[in-house]
């Protein structure tokens, strides 16, 4: 047993060395037109060796260390409190949600333009995560290519505005519907796959869409992307200094106030807020409808669900389609916010971040997902000095999360159902 442990630890340490020496210890340097290989500083080598020793020690004493980690929740002051009563918790959650929304309505008027911009991004991630939550959290379908539908929404708006001059408000439903349709089309052949297979195939689809956007230069402009995507208007009022489209008026002239670039940012933020709230409400509603229960039932026990008359394909497809629909929604808002999109915005990392939000927030819980979206988007901004280590922090957070709270920040709670005694 002990010998086994030691051998395993030694193996891990060697792997650490093998991986890190070429990556960190060797540098490529350009000298004129030649590229030469140079060694790194001695301190780097010392660090690598120290890291290998750390890995060795951790692996050798892994069981006891993990055991200690497992005991840590006892330090949590809430750990031995009784879980809150269902109905009470439901009330508290709706209060918190209402509080967040009210706060969110007013605060853009007091903070800086950059913060509002960032908050808009958070809201876009909230929409995305709420949508993915349907697919992963509720229906239990591991979708690693979710960003594809986000891209469909964004590109739909970008292309339509480029070729037909469509407005944001027209593009919003079209983008969402097209994304939903894509979800349905892609979903149909792959949803009979299970677990890991589904994850890999969806991952592939995500990449296919991105590569398609990258290479179909005549239509999408390839890596150069598409620019000049219009901002939303408010009843035909534009937020730019000058009116771009005929027949429109400008916001600041109509209200007789001085032009300010902030109006536009705040307006976009408010739109994103309203759309995020609508998304949350619709999905909340779905969760209480037969279709929402069917998603969960199929996730819990597919065989039992089928024996009760649930069609596997129809149920999974509905989850996939609805998830894709809201990704398209978010994509349209994103395109409008950026004014410019390129395939670079839709890489796998985005899928991973959205998935991380869902997992951190607690699969199936809306409030949890919202809090996690805020945390995952804002923390890296706050800790800019550490931006290089963003992925590292991310990974560490995920691992700790799985040890401490595998169910996520706020696990899903069941809806309390009142049944009246029948005669």
């Amino acid at each position: 047993m002990a010998a086994n442990n030691l051998r395993h630890a030694l193996f891990c340490a060697v792997v650490t060395l093998i991986i890190s020496i070429p990556i960190l210890g060797l540098n490529l340097e350009a000298e004129g037109i030649n590229i030469i290989l140079t060694g790194a500083k001695t301190s780097t080598y010392i660090a690598i060796v120290l890291a290998a020793i750390a890995v060795f020690v951790f692996q050798a004493y892994r069981d006891s260390i993990m055991g200690l980690l497992g005991k840590l929740p006892n330090l949590n002051p809430l750990a031995d409190k009784e879980p809150m009563e269902q109905s009470k918790r439901a009330k508290l959650e709706s209060w918190i949600l209402t509080g967040i929304i009210v706060l969110a309505l007013f605060w853009p008027f007091v903070v800086s333009r950059g913060s509002v911009d960032l908050a808009t991004l958070v809201l876009i991630y909230v929409m995305l995560a709420l949508g993915l939550n349907v697919v992963v959290g509720l229906a239990g379908l591991l979708d690693l290519g979710y960003v594809a539908f986000y891209a469909v929404g964004a590109y739909t708006f970008a292309l339509l505005s480029q070729y037909t001059g469509i407005s944001f408000w027209m593009a919003l439903p079209i983008g969402a519907l097209l994304a939903g349709l894509t979800g349905m089309t892609l979903g149909f052949p792959v949803l009979r796959l299970r677990g890991d297979y589904l994850a890999i195939v969806t991952l592939g689809f995500g990449e296919i869409i991105r590569i398609l956007l990258n290479n179909w230069t005549t239509l999408t402009g390839g890596p150069n992307g598409i620019g000049g995507i219009p901002e939303p208007t408010l009843f035909g009022m534009e937020f730019g200094r000058r009116v771009k489209e005929e027949g429109n008026t400008s916001f600041h002239e109509t209200f007789g106030i001085a032009y300010s670039g902030e109006h536009k940012v705040i307006f976009l933020y408010l739109i994103a807020l309203v759309l995020a709230v609508i998304t949350a409400l619709i999905i909340r509603r779905f969760m209480r409808m037969p279709v929402g229960r069917a998603w969960e039932a199929l996730r819990e026990d597919e065989i039992a669900a089928r024996s009760l008359g649930l069609s596997r394909t129809a149920v999974k497809l509905s989850a996939f389609t609805i998830g894709a629909f809201f990704a398209g929604f978010a994509g349209t808002v994103f395109a409008s916010k950026q004014g410019f999109i390129s395939p670079e915005s839709f890489v796998f990392l985005e899928s991973a971040i959205i998935l991380a939000i869902v997992v951190l927030g607690g699969m199936g819980s809306q409030l949890g997902v919202i809090l996690a979206a805020i945390a995952v988007t804002i923390l890296p901004e706050l800790a800019r000095e550490f931006s290089e280590y963003r992925m590292l922090i991310f990974g560490a957070a995920m691992v700790l999360m799985m040890v401490w709270r595998p169910q996520g920040l706020l696990p899903m709670r069941r809806i309390h159902i009142t049944l009246n005694k029948q005669e």
Binding site: E300, A304, I417
Partner: protein, 251 residues
């Protein structure tokens, strides 16, 4: 109402079911018994559409249903329970019963999103039906418990209630008494009889508990190693030499 003719099911080289026939009339309890591995559950899996039989016919209300997808079978009015209880363990007891009524609620999504009066009426009906059956199996007080946290006997009863809210014509029970104590078995006995008498449901029962089988069955089919061995009333089965040999030979 149900007629199984010459059913066979082959898994690779193993003929798990070979020429089994069965018929069930309205308001009848028919049992399938046989030693472990005889192929009883496989017969259920064919009937409920999980397997496509290699041969033979299954007629339900005169229509051939072999090979019909599983989810359509239950919509025809044939539902089953499982040898190892299969509940939606993380969902509440009440939700388990609501899931089963999916079909009754299946108005379009828009109606649900908007909460139209028609939708609300159906939803209420589903809740009432769930309450009724929970009361009937003595689980009403536990309606908001997680189904996975129920005691074993309660889970078994919930599984039956979950079938009943779909308003089936034929109920297939796979070893419902397994793991129950004598008192619970007695309750189960009364429940099954009442399903037949009060709710006009036909029951096909797989069970190893002989006293239960002998007590409530109208007819019994014995299968052994996939092949039909005997069929008849409990009295006839009790005295059948082949059956005695098969069972005593086992013991």
């Amino acid at each position: 109402m149900l007629e199984v003719q010459n059913l066979s099911m082959r898994f690779g080289g193993l003929l798990a079911v070979d020429g089994v026939s069965l018929d069930v009339q309205e308001r009848e309890i028919v049992s399938i018994i046989g030693p472990n591995g005889a192929g009883k559950t496989t017969v259920f899996n064919c009937m409920s559409g999980f397997y496509k039989p290699s041969g033979g016919k299954i007629l339900f209300e005169g229509k051939e249903v072999q090979g019909t997808p599983d989810y359509k079978i239950s919509r025809l009015g044939m539902v089953r329970t499982f040898q190892h209880v299969r509940l939606f363990t993380k969902m509440s007891v009440a939700e388990n019963l609501l899931v089963a009524q999916h079909r009754h609620l299946n108005t379009n999504m828009l109606a649900g999103l908007l909460g139209t009066p028609n939708y609300k009426k159906r939803e209420q009906k589903a809740l009432d039906r769930a309450a009724y059956w929970l009361e009937r199996v003595g689980l009403l007080d536990l309606a908001n418990r997680e189904a996975g946290n129920l005691a074993y006997g309660q889970q078994r009863r919930l599984e039956i209630a979950r079938c009943m809210v779909t308003e089936p014509k034929l109920l297939m029970l796979d070893e419902p008494a397994a793991g129950l104590n004598p008192a619970e078995t007695k309750e189960l006995n009364q429940l099954i009889v009442s399903l037949k008498e009060d709710y006009n449901v036909s029951v096909v029962l797989i069970e190893h508990d002989m006293s239960l089988v002998m007590d409530i069955s109208d007819r019994i089919n014995v299968i052994n190693q996939g092949r039909p061995l005997a069929s008849g009333t409990p009295e006839e089965i009790r005295q059948n030499d082949d059956v005695i040999k098969a069972y005593l030979g086992e013991a």
